[in-house]
């Protein structure tokens, strides 16, 4: 059901854990399945120096968290904003249709952490909207 890359990131998640003195922390829950993800960011001079995650979620959620953290680390805040769930999925060689929503968790958790960072440091990041409690997504019904 999952690609090899997904399985690899699930079995050996990158950047799993917490950052004690994080500059930004974002937690989002997925209205669709009830799963939860938390992202910790360390930002210096507008560049993401370190990132960690914790996930209460399915295999796809773990794998997308892991992949997403790899994809944003070292990027500027603005660049990080452009790492979409689609890009993460592609990097993982795709997800089954019922699992597309899981990839949103990672995207939204990063956005939430960036928002938290912006709030704490009193800056505005262009294009970044405040995090919503629960993320949701309209999927095609058969």
């Amino acid at each position: 059901m999952y690609s090899e890359k997904v399985m690899d990131h699930f079995m050996n998640p990158r950047n799993m854990g917490e950052i004690e003195d994080a500059d930004g922390v974002g937690t989002v829950g997925n209205a669709k399945c009830g799963d939860i993800m938390r992202i910790f960011l360390k930002v210096e001079d507008g560049v993401i120096q370190d990132v960690k995650f914790k996930t209460f979620g399915c295999g796809a959620a773990v794998a997308t968290s892991s992949m997403a953290t790899e994809m944003v680390v070292g990027k500027t805040v603005e660049e990080a904003l452009k790492v979409t769930n689609k890009a993460v999925m592609e990097a993982l060689d795709g997800l089954p249709p019922v699992k597309v929503h899981c990839s949103l968790l990672a995207e939204q958790a990063i956005h939430a952490a960036l928002w938290d960072y912006a709030q704490k440091h009193n800056i505005t990041i262009e294009g970044l909207k405040p995090p919503v409690e629960d993320i949701e997504e309209i999927e095609e019904e058969e």
Partner: protein, 387 residues
């Protein structure tokens, strides 16, 4: 060599070698259409009738009260939709429970759209339906009560005999979904006053794609699948002879080994329950401690999510499930776990381990070795867990 432990017998079982052997001639040699007149078809017809007797014997019914279907789900659909229609003149009210299999629940939802009134009885924290609630729910328009004998997700057994006696007195028809119970619990449709009973071969080492519905003589039940005159005009479609032969053989074996199987499985179940509760913190047993299917265990592990748990167990060679297999395509937490009062996020972390005839106590030991570190690992990943 890694061990492989299949612990998902409530989802499905392997066909037993004796059962497959009984089936084989009906694929390539005895292939005639049992409705035909010639000699090779007659031996087919005979085989179907033998299977009918085997099923009847297993549940203390008469052979002409047994009708073969395409699966347990079809049996459930037939019973509910058929009674709803055939007894529409008598009333429009059906009572069931909130912890039925989707084959019953979704059929009830369909019937609701057709204008029928359905009452979903609550269950207690073990998952047992309340007979009191049932007694309060029946009214003049109640035509049918449908209760699951043993729950597929949490293994809890309902007081079928008590309910049957009550309904018999009230002259209300009683359907029992015994798909999980056959081969694990003794069933007697007379003593239990059951009017309709669904079963499915692949749950007791028979083939997939064949089930049966017991219909007590005298119960009016319109056809569900219309067509030819098979099954005495009540269920059309060329008979799945090999499948039916397999069902018959499997139910005969399962019933004759019922006690032996219970003696094998109950200690395995009990050891797994006791040890997991002892070794792993923040874990809950779902369903009744004693009043449950012999090989059936269901836990909720707080702070972790079911699918991740299943994948890691799979990697360790342990095949289990989270909720019922046929809902694993869905993301909703199990309606059964919610019904017994679990909060959403705990229902999400449930694990069902169901043992069967090929399992041994070593399998239990293996699970006890592998499961705790996996749970630990996932908890370390969880934002909800603060050790």
């Amino acid at each position: 060599m890694e061990r492989k432990v299949y612990a998902d017998h409530s989802a499905t079982t392997a066909v037993r070698p004796e059962v497959l052997e009984a089936m084989l001639p009906y694929f390539t040699e005895e292939y005639g259409n049992p409705s035909s007149i010639y000699a090779i078809a007659r031996s087919n017809k005979q085989a179907v009738e033998t299977a009918r007797e085997q099923v009847a014997m297993a549940i203390n019914a008469k052979a002409d009260e047994i009708f073969f279907t395409g699966c347990g789900t079809e049996s459930d659909n037939w019973a509910l939709k058929g009674i709803a229609e055939s007894y529409a003149g008598k009333g429009d009210h059906i009572i069931t429970t909130s912890v039925e299999h989707h084959a019953i629940l979704h059929t009830c939802q369909y019937l609701e759209k057709q204008g029928k009134r359905i009452t979903y009885l609550p269950v207690d924290e073990d998952g047992v339906v309340s007979v009191e609630a049932l007694k309060n729910a029946v009214d003049q328009d109640t035509i049918l009560v449908s209760i699951i004998m043993a729950n597929n997700e949490i293994g809890t057994i309902n007081p079928i005999e008590e309910i049957g006696a009550f309904l018999h007195e009230k002259k209300i028809l009683f359907h029992v979904d015994a798909v999980q119970a056959v081969g694990s619990l003794p069933i007697d449709v007379q003593a239990m006053h059951i009017d309709l009973l669904s079963l499915s071969a692949h749950k007791f080492y028979g083939p997939k794609g064949v089930g049966a519905l017991y219909i007590r003589k005298g119960v009016k039940l319109r056809s569900f699948i219309h067509g030819g005159a098979q099954e005495r005009g009540r269920r059309a479609g060329t008979e799945n002879v090999a499948g039916i032969v397999g069902l018959g053989k499997a139910i005969e074996l399962a019933t004759s080994e019922l006690e032996a199987r219970r003696a094998q499985l109950i200690p395995m179940r009990d050891r797994l329950i006791d040890e997991v509760l002892r070794r792993i913190p923040y874990v809950r047993l779902n369903g009744a401690r004693e009043n449950r299917l012999p090989g059936h265990v269901n836990f909720s592990f707080q702070f972790i999510e079911g699918e991740s748990l299943l994948i890691l167990l799979d990697m360790a060679g342990i095949y289990a499930s989270s909720g019922s297999a046929c809902t694993s395509g869905s993301l909703d937490p199990s309606h059964v776990l919610l019904a017994i009062g679990l909060p959403h996020e705990i229902a999400h972390g449930s694990l069902r381990l169901t043992f069967g005839r090929e399992n041994t106590m070593e399998d239990v030991d293996y699970i006890l070795e592998k499961l705790p570190p996996i749970v630990e690992r996932l908890r370390a990943m969880s934002p909800l867990y603060e050790d």
